[in-house]
């Protein structure tokens, strides 16, 4: 067959606009369309307060977890335990900050953050070792650890009481993680700290996934794990690393949540793992892995959040919001399946 350069121009355009890419573009288009519709119907939608302060800031913490989840899912894995991991991290953060508060904020906060990050990494590693080295199915492993970690959080909080960051000075010195506003776009258009944290994680994630050998191998494992292993890729280590990474992002998200509420509650964030997985899938990372990316996850997350925000603005009840969210997931995945069938023919 001919090389790319010899192909007729029309064919090259058709290649570039493959059905798959069109489908990705259609989600972006849907997002833009929804935003346009929303700002037309609701005067408050397209305001800085609603979009940045409200929508994006609230989505930031879940967005950070979604970054970790994207790594796991591109490698063909799955993590149901993220919400539980986040809760354990929150509880550990609050407890250590409380315990270390006598040493002053300068010691307590960095130490607590460090420990929290470590806990996130250890919990992620537990998943990773079981899945990658022992070879247990990721669904089973993370379903169990979801329960185990949740129980751990309950034990740490003495049966589920909300733990407050009690020391008032410490509390005031920590909530910058949530409250700080950076005047990136002038005084009237400030960007909150969670968004900044998300953007930093996002950029690091993009670098890791798209520009390093580690990221390259993640795609390889998602494409054909056996082939990657035979080619000399240490698939076990890389798969385990994705779960560690995911645990770490949970710890980061935990810091944002704690700063937001100044409490940690073992019973919170139930079901959030599904929101995270949903945004990864809606974005276009398939369940088997091998393709997808962080930008698509971001688009998926935004789509779900915008729909949610919109329905809230029109004061639609939470019950209907769930129905709509569920339907969006099914529709997007159905389109994906049909697209694959078509491209195979």
């Amino acid at each position: 067959m001919s090389n790319d350069t010899k192909k007729p121009y029309a064919q090259r355009i058709r290649d570039a606009l493959s059905f798959r890419k069109l489908q990705q573009a259609s989600i972006l288009l849907l997002l833009v369309g929804l935003c346009a519709f929303a700002s037309y119907r609701s005067p408050t939608f397209f305001t800085w307060t609603n979009l940045v302060d409200n929508l994006l800031t609230n989505a930031a913490a879940l967005g950070v977890i979604a970054i970790g989840m994207t790594f796991v899912m591109i490698a063909g894995g799955f993590d149901l335990s993220v919400a539980s991991t986040t809760v354990v991290c929150s509880v550990v953060l609050v407890l250590t900050m409380d315990a270390l508060s006598p040493y002053g904020a300068a010691v307590a906060i960095p130490a607590a953050l460090l420990l929290t990050a470590l806990v996130g990494i250890v919990l992620g590693a537990a998943n990773g070792v079981l899945i990658a080295y022992v070879g247990v199915n990721p669904f089973v492993v993370t379903l169990s650890t979801m329960l185990v970690f949740r129980g751990l959080a309950l034990i740490l909080t003495g049966g589920g009481q909300a733990k407050q960051v009690a020391d008032i000075p410490l509390r005031n010195q920590f909530n910058w993680v949530y409250d700080a506003q950076l005047p990136l776009f002038g005084q009237s258009c400030q960007v909150s700290m969670p968004i900044v944290i998300f953007l930093v994680t996002f950029c690091l994630g993009i670098y890791l996934l798209r520009f390093t050998r580690f990221g390259h191998y993640i795609f390889a494992i998602g494409g054909n794990e056996e082939a990657a292993w035979l080619a000399g890729v240490n698939t076990h280590r890389i798969k385990a690393a994705t779960y560690v990474l995911c645990g770490f992002t949970c710890a980061v998200a935990a810091a944002i949540f704690v700063a937001m509420t100044a409490t940690a509650q073992a019973e919170s964030h139930v079901g959030k793992e599904l929101v995270v997985i949903a945004s990864v899938i809606v974005g276009g990372t398939p369940l088997g892995g091998g393709s997808g990316g962080l930008t698509s996850t971001l688009i998926g997350l935004l789509l779900l959040r915008v729909i949610d925000n919109l329905l809230t603005q029109f004061s639609v009840g939470a019950e209907y919001r769930k129905v709509v969210t569920g339907m969006i997931i099914v529709i997007v995945v159905t389109i994906d399946v049909l697209a694959k069938k078509r491209s195979r023919k």
Binding site: M1, H216, F219, A220, G223
Partner: protein, 543 residues
């Protein structure tokens, strides 16, 4: 058995390498396997097999399913660590215990199910596992991936675009990608020197099974080119017709033993067939008396297939099937014969109509065909036939559960077992225990269960797709008698087999399929194995 020292020396052989070798200059084998024995749960899959490959030759390895070709190559590829026997690779004795070790030594297997990464480009696939990254930034060096791949593609003179995603390539080109990836290490480790080094062997495991004829020609061109460069290759195949085109020597395996090794120039296809099957198969057929044939005239048309097409697989297949008739469908593997019967049975979508007793079956699906009265004994018993992990009784009755169930769908276990016991008696399934897990039966008895399933369903048309694959001669003989008996009872049979002798001995009428087209219809008694083979191959290729 082998000292560590020896092993280490063997493993390091690829680093040291040996001088360039030319096929004319050196006829010593690159690989020698001697007295290889491998057992699975007490049965010998390989029994003292000898095999060797020389540089610059394609050595074909043929045999029936279960003869041990794949097991032998799996030993070579390091998939087992508990084999016995000696392997000498590149002049050193080695013991291969893991796929990684095999690959590092320079043994590459190209399996029928290609193991490429569909989501990667050609270049990324070829260079997988050999990427360079920045020391501090850990940044992946994409430029070196492309440059390295380009060099290898140029070296091998493959027609590949490094930037193209592999999922868009045809199967044949994906195969080229895999070959390039397998040979990468060897080429890169010897820049500027002769290639290939002796420590490289390439095994093809039925590479043409999923390729069209054009792609096959392309692949053969590549294999010949590699051979001329001095590479040692093993070629596993079912298709005898390919061997004169591609192979230099042929080794035949049967029942885990080496039957013999021949140079391709001094052997006939029919001789190879005999070596593959053993001499006794022709005697396994029940004698057909001329009288029986006269009394057994086929009856009314029961199945009419009209214009059945699946683009790219088969085109415009039309035929009629009569009650009491055995219709053989002959063709090479990959000619589309299995796909045709799968489409008739509704397992695959296809255009065209199928009429059963004059009424078209609309919206064909296996469940509908089963209800109408068509049954199929599928080609791949393990994957499509057995319901693994369930007892024989359930496997026998799965297709008639509706009929066996009482009020509100209640299934009486006793009723089920009683029915199964009757079938077990009728089919002479051994051991006759309905509660036994089907996977614990021998291959032949598993097959009897699957056939029994359709007898239980009282199907009027039964499709047999390779019914005797991987079963012993005794059971084969029983299967032949059963097929003839079923036809005598007035059922219509469609029989597909790679063993052409089965078709010529059993079928009343034979359809020859070549490249997805119905090219000829022959009467069974008029033809013999060699004539039918020539038809299947097409006359131009048989010469």
């Amino acid at each position: 058995m082998y000292s560590n020292d020896r092993l280490r020396r063997a493993q390091s052989s690829r680093v040291i390498g040996t001088p360039f070798c030319n096929k004319s200059q050196n006829g010593n084998p690159v690989l020698q396997m001697q007295g290889i024995v491998k057992e699975f749960a007490g049965t010998r899959a390989l029994d003292e097999v000898d095999f060797d490959v020389r540089p610059g030759e394609v050595h074909a390895l043929i045999g029936e399913n279960g003869a041990g070709k794949s097991t032998l190559m799996n030993v070579l590829a390091g998939r087992f660590d508990d084999y016995d026997g000696l392997i000498t690779f590149d002049g050193r004795q080695v013991r291969i215990t893991s796929p990684r070790q095999a690959r590092d030594m320079g043994i590459a297997v190209i399996y029928q199910e290609l193991s490429v990464l569909p989501n990667f480009t050609v270049a990324e696939n070829i260079m997988l596992g050999d990427e360079k990254a920045g020391r501090w930034t850990r940044k992946l060096d994409r430029a070196s991936i492309n440059a390295g791949a380009r060099k290898i593609i140029e070296y091998l003179r493959f027609d590949l675009d490094p930037d193209e995603p592999v999922e868009k390539l045809s199967k044949a080109r994906q195969c080229l990608v895999e070959i390039a990836g397998a040979l990468r290490r060897n080429i890169r480790s010897r820049p500027g020197k002769g290639w290939p080094s002796r420590s490289q062997i390439l095994v093809f495991d039925e590479p043409t099974a999923s390729l069209g004829s054009e792609d096959i020609d392309k692949l053969f061109g590549v294999i010949k080119d590699l051979r001329d460069k001095g590479l040692a290759m093993v070629y596993i195949s079912h298709r005898l017709a390919e061997l004169p085109i591609i192979a230099d020597r042929v080794t035949v395996l049967r029942d885990g033993r080496t039957v013999g090794t021949r140079a391709i120039t001094d052997c006939q296809i029919s001789e190879l067939t005999r070596m593959m099957l053993g001499h006794d198969l022709a005697e396994a057929f029940p004698a057909k008396s001329p009288q029986a044939e006269k009394t057994n005239r086929p009856g009314k048309v029961i199945l009419k297939v009209d214009g059945l097409s699946r683009p790219g697989v088969f085109e415009n297949i039309s035929f009629e099937l009569r009650e009491g008739e055995i219709l053989g469908i002959a063709g090479l593997v990959g000619s589309g014969r299995s796909e045709i019967v799968r489409a008739i049975f509704g397992a695959d979508d296809a255009r065209g109509t199928v009429e059963f007793r004059g009424k078209p079956i609309i919206g064909r699906s296996p469940s509908l065909c089963c209800a109408v009265g068509i049954g199929m004994v599928p080609e791949n018993r393990k994957r499509e036939g057995n319901i693994t992990g369930r007892p024989v009784s359930e496997n026998l009755t799965i297709s008639i559960l509706e009929r066996l169930s009482g009020t509100l769908g209640f299934q009486s276990p006793r009723n089920l077992t009683a029915h199964a016991t009757r079938m077990i008696e009728q089919m002479k399934i051994d051991p006759p225990r309905p509660q036994m897990d089907i996977q614990d039966l021998s291959g032949g008895n598993q097959q009897k269960v699957i056939v029994g399933r359709w007898l239980a369903a009282e199907s009027k048309v039964i499709i047999f797709d390779e019914p005797t694959q991987g079963i012993d001669v005794g059971t084969k003989s029983q299967m032949y008698r059963l097929i003839i008996d079923l036809a005598r009872q007035g059922r219509a049979i469609i029989l597909i087999s790679s063993e052409l002798i089965e078709i010529t001995k059993l079928a009343d009428r034979i359809l020859v399929i070549r490249d997805g087209r119905l090219v000829r219809e022959m009467m069974g008694p008029e033809t013999d194995e060699d004539a039918l083979f020539a038809e299947c191959v097409g006359k131009d290729k048989s010469e």
